[in-house]
Each structure stands twice: as structure tokens, then as C-alpha cells.
């Protein structure tokens, strides 16, 4: 399957956000500006297509920082290839960069 040819602009933005940012759902939302109803299903689709993989962080780390444990997403090898191809197709997505984390009010 030529994964890179099937990536939509939204999926490419999410891949770039996972690659450039902290790699959990809300950070991707913040970086891309996409709503939760778009980001999370898209991440599940990317995970199903094996472009990203997820892993829960250790509870001890979250407890030390007094916050709930995060589910982190990382690019797989195929995801990196797909992202590289998407950058050629959508050059502006390379400019996506992490912004400061919104802290709990």
C-alpha cells in the first residue's frame, strides 16, 4: 500500500504535529487547531494504518507531575516515510511547531 499517496492534508498535519510536538491528543489539537472530533478519529485511523503507534506513559511519571497519565503517539517507520512524502506535497505543514502547553486553569 502506498500510504503516502492516501494521506489527506488533515492527516498530514496530524502526523507532523505528532512528530514535532509532545505526541498526545490534546497537544495535537493545540498545534493543528483542529477540533477533538476530527483529531482523535484521525489518530485512530493513522494507528490502524500503522503510521503511528500509541503507548501509555508510566503512572509514576504522571503522579510525580500531579496530572493524569497521557497516551503518547509516535510515528512508525512507515509514518515517517508518509510524513516525508506529505511534506513534499504540502510544504507548509513543515512550519507547524509546538506552542506553549495550556495549563490547567
Amino acid at each position: 500500500m502506498a500510504a503516502e499517496t492516501k494521506l489527506s492534508h488533515t492527516a498530514a498535519m496530524i502526523l507532523q504535529a505528532i512528530h514535532a510536538g509532545d505526541g498526545y491528543g490534546f497537544s495535537v489539537m493545540e498545534m493543528t487547531g483542529l477540533p477533538s472530533g476530527t483529531v482523535y478519529p484521525a489518530m485512530r485511523r493513522l494507528e490502524r494504518d500503522e503510521l503511528i503507534r500509541s503507548q501509555w506513559e508510566k503512572p509514576s511519571i504522571a503522579e510525580a507531575e500531579l496530572r493524569p497519565a497521557r497516551k503518547y503517539y509516535k510515528l512508525t517507520r512507515a509514518g515517517k516515510v508518509a510524513l516525508e512524502a506529505s511534506r513534499k506535497r504540502y510544504p507548509l505543514i513543515s512550519k507547524l511547531a509546538p506552542i506553549e502547553e495550556v495549563e490547567q486553569a
Partner: protein, 407 residues
């Protein structure tokens, strides 16, 4: 909105997610919502519904009800529950078995003098709806009218019995109306009963009946008679003192045959079924009798589910929408029966699984494009074209025993 409500939203959305993924899915969303500022949390949580729906749509089909026996068992249980509720709830029970006593007839346009000479042991008279208060009409009725109709009324000096529509339209369905004293034609009358909303109507179109002594009707008043007669009689004769005979036509006061009416509505919905789904069951060998029995059993079980289910639910929420709901429910039910049949293996009748997209949408007209489903027992593959037409129908590919090692 409080954190508790956001959590309730997430828990509600979690119900849409497949059971095996639900716990982890909810844990992720609960963790994520912690990072969202309070003003954006509601919108964030609403996105969870879309995510849960996506997860459900893209999960393998649930294994429950795959077997034909499980399907029939589930339908039987559903039919039994809806039937049970139909017997337990008062309105559906009354609709199925109207409590109207048998053998009642009505005579219209009869003078009170003729009524008094009727050769009938049980007859009641009521006048035209002549007392008006705004658009509310009241007629005078003899005291045995509601005994004949089997409607119990509480004792009062001047009892007033309201029709269901009169009570609903004039008094807004006030539940405390019984026992209230109203002024009717300058005379105080106490509301003694409300005629239930049944599927028969007394002629005359009165909103209420004021019960009076039968002797108080003025000579010459014309009105209506309700009498108990042998149903085979179509008229009744009154012989006057001058020897003349006056015949009156009797119209049976019968309840509408609701089960028949409902079956008629379901029949109409079966006629419109081709407009909402294909009637074709695909290319299957016709000799599989078991398959046709299964299809017929599903139809037989869906009928009471839709009929009694509609009676139960709509008697509680909107009784006047029952026929419409029955029509829509029948169409949906019959459509489900056909769709369910189409996605089952014609050999073992289990639901086919593992849907796989074959071909490319851009080549729909040039090549075969559609979905392939598999029988987990290895009986075959079902090809469902994306666009059905005269040359591309649902097709069953039987696998012979050489494939058995794969299953």
C-alpha cells in the same frame, strides 16, 4: 458546566464505543480533558461522540446474534416483552380489547316521545348538543346512558361526563378536573367522569353530557338513542296510538377493528418496501428451504414486535401518532428483515463477517467494485456490488471442501 457533567458526557459517548475498547477509550478521554481549559471542555467532550462512533464503525462486527437461533431467540424475547407490556399498560389493552359491551346500537333523529315507546328493555336518550359555552357544547342525557356504555361515573347531584377531546381542548387535559363544579346553563354541575379516548364516538358530537332525569326532556325534543338490541336487527319500529308505525334505522356502535386496521397499515408498508430497499435476496440456490423458513420466521416475529411495541411506546408519549409510527416502524422492521437476510450465509444462516473492499471507486463502471464478506465456517464468500444494476447483483461464491483447512 461542572466536571461531573463533562464526565457524564464522556461516559455517554463511551457507550457508543465497542465494549472491548471502552475502558481504555474512556481513560484516554478522561486524561485528555484534564488539559483542556474549562471554557472549552464542553465542545471538547462533544467531539468524543464522533470518536466513539468512528471506533464502533471500524471495529469488527459484534459476534452476538450471528447464529440464526440467537437471532430468532432475541426476536422472540422482544416480541414477548412488547406483548407483555401491551397487556399490562391500560391503553394498549383497551385498544386491543375494547371494553364496549356487545350489541349496542344508536338511533339518530328520534323524538323523545318515540324513545319512550321503544319496545326495547335497555335504551338511553340524549339530546342534541344545544347548550353552548364558547365552543364547548353540552347535551342532556338520561341517567342510564353511561351504564349502557359501561363507563362508571361518580355520584353527584348533576353529574357531567366529558368527552376526551372536550376535556383536552377546553380544559387542557387538567388532571384535577374530576369532582370540580362547573356552571352549565346557569346550573352547577359536577364533573363525574371523562369518556376515555376510544375508537368509537357517540353521534351528536357533544363535548359533554349533563345527566338528567329521563322525564325532564321536553316533549318533541329530537335526539339520539343508545340501545341494546340483537345485532342482527337493522331497525326498530314504534307503533303510535293512531295506528301508524314509525321505523328507525339502528346503527351498531362498534369499536373499530384495530388489529385488522393495524395489519392493513402494515400491509401498506410492505407495499412501499421496494421504495426503501431492494427486494432481491441475491443469487442463491432456491432449494435451501431452511433459509426461507428462517426468513418467514423473522417476518412473523417482527410483526408483533412492531405492532405491540408501537402500541406500548406511543400510548405513553403520543397516542395520536400511533398509526404513523406503526407505518414507519413496519417499513423499518421489514427492511431490517431483508437486509439481515442478505448478509447471512445461505448455508449456515450465520451473519457474514470480515467485510473487505475490492476494486477502486473510480473504476466502478469498468471493473467490479464492492465489498466481499466471508462466512466464518468456510461456506463461501458474498460479493456485494457498491452500485447494484442489472448486470451486477449480489453474488454468492460457494467454497468447496478444499478450502476447509483455512477455517
Amino acid at each position: 458546566m461542572s466536571d461531573r457533567l463533562h464526565l457524564a458526557l464522556l461516559c455517554g459517548a463511551a457507550l457508543l464505543a465497542p465494549a472491548k475498547d471502552r475502558e481504555e477509550w474512556l481513560a484516554e478521554w478522561r486524561a485528555e480533558v484534564w488539559y483542556v481549559s474549562p471554557s472549552r471542555r464542553t465542545r471538547f467532550c462533544l467531539g468524543a461522540f464522533r470518536d466513539a462512533l468512528w471506533l464502533r464503525r471500524h471495529s469488527p462486527a459484534p459476534v452476538r446474534r450471528q447464529s440464526p437461533w440467537q437471532c430468532l431467540g432475541f426476536l422472540t424475547a422482544l416480541a414477548a416483552v412488547s406483548l407483555l407490556f401491551a397487556f399490562r399498560l391500560p391503553l394498549p389493552r383497551e385498544m386491543l380489547f375494547p371494553p364496549l359491551p356487545a350489541g349496542l346500537v344508536t338511533i339518530s333523529g328520534i323524538a323523545v316521545d318515540d324513545y319512550r315507546q321503544l319496545p326495547v328493555p335497555s335504551a338511553a336518550f340524549y339530546g342534541p348538543a344545544e347548550l353552548r359555552g364558547g365552543n364547548f357544547t353540552v347535551s342532556l342525557a338520561s341517567c342510564n346512558l353511561f351504564d349502557l356504555l359501561n363507563v362508571p361515573i361518580s355520584s353527584a347531584a348533576y353529574p357531567l361526563v366529558m368527552s376526551f377531546s372536550g376535556w383536552r381542548n377546553r380544559f387542557g387535559g387538567d388532571p384535577h378536573i374530576l369532582g370540580r363544579t362547573l356552571t352549565v346553563a346557569g346550573r352547577p354541575a359536577q364533573v363525574a367522569a371523562i369518556l376515555p379516548d376510544r375508537d368509537w364516538e357517540l353521534p351528536g358530537r357533544a363535548d359533554a353530557w349533563l345527566i338528567v332525569d329521563g322525564r325532564s326532556f321536553v316533549t318533541g325534543t329530537r335526539g339520539y338513542v343508545v340501545a341494546r338490541l340483537n345485532p342482527s336487527r337493522h331497525d326498530v319500529a314504534v307503533q303510535h296510538s293512531d295506528g301508524s308505525i314509525h321505523r328507525f334505522i339502528c346503527i351498531p356502535l362498534t369499536a373499530l377493528n384495530l388489529p385488522f386496521t393495524f395489519l392493513l397499515i402494515m400491509g401498506v408498508s410492505a407495499v412501499v418496501l421496494p421504495a426503501v430497499t431492494s427486494l432481491s435476496l441475491g443469487e442463491y440456490p432456491a432449494h435451501h428451504l431452511r433459509r426461507w423458513i428462517f426468513l418467514a420466521a423473522k417476518f412473523v416475529l417482527v410483526l408483533p414486535i412492531v405492532l405491540f411495541g408501537t402500541l406500548d411506546v406511543f400510548s405513553l408519549i403520543a397516542i395520536h401518532l400511533q398509526p404513523h409510527a406503526l407505518f414507519v416502524g413496519s417499513v423499518i422492521g421489514f427492511r431490517w428483515v431483508l437486509n439481515d437476510q442478505r448478509r447471512r450465509c445461505p448455508v449456515c444462516l450465520r451473519v457474514l463477517t470480515n467485510p473487505t473492499r475490492i476494486g477502486e471507486p473510480s473504476r466502478t463502471l469498468l471493473e467490479w467494485y464492492g465489498t466481499e464478506l466471508l462466512c466464518t465456517r468456510g461456506h463461501g464468500l458474498l460479493h456485494v456490488p457498491e452500485m447494484r444494476n442489472s448486470y451486477s447483483e449480489q453474488r454468492w461464491l460457494r467454497l468447496d471442501s478444499s478450502w476447509s483447512s483455512l477455517f
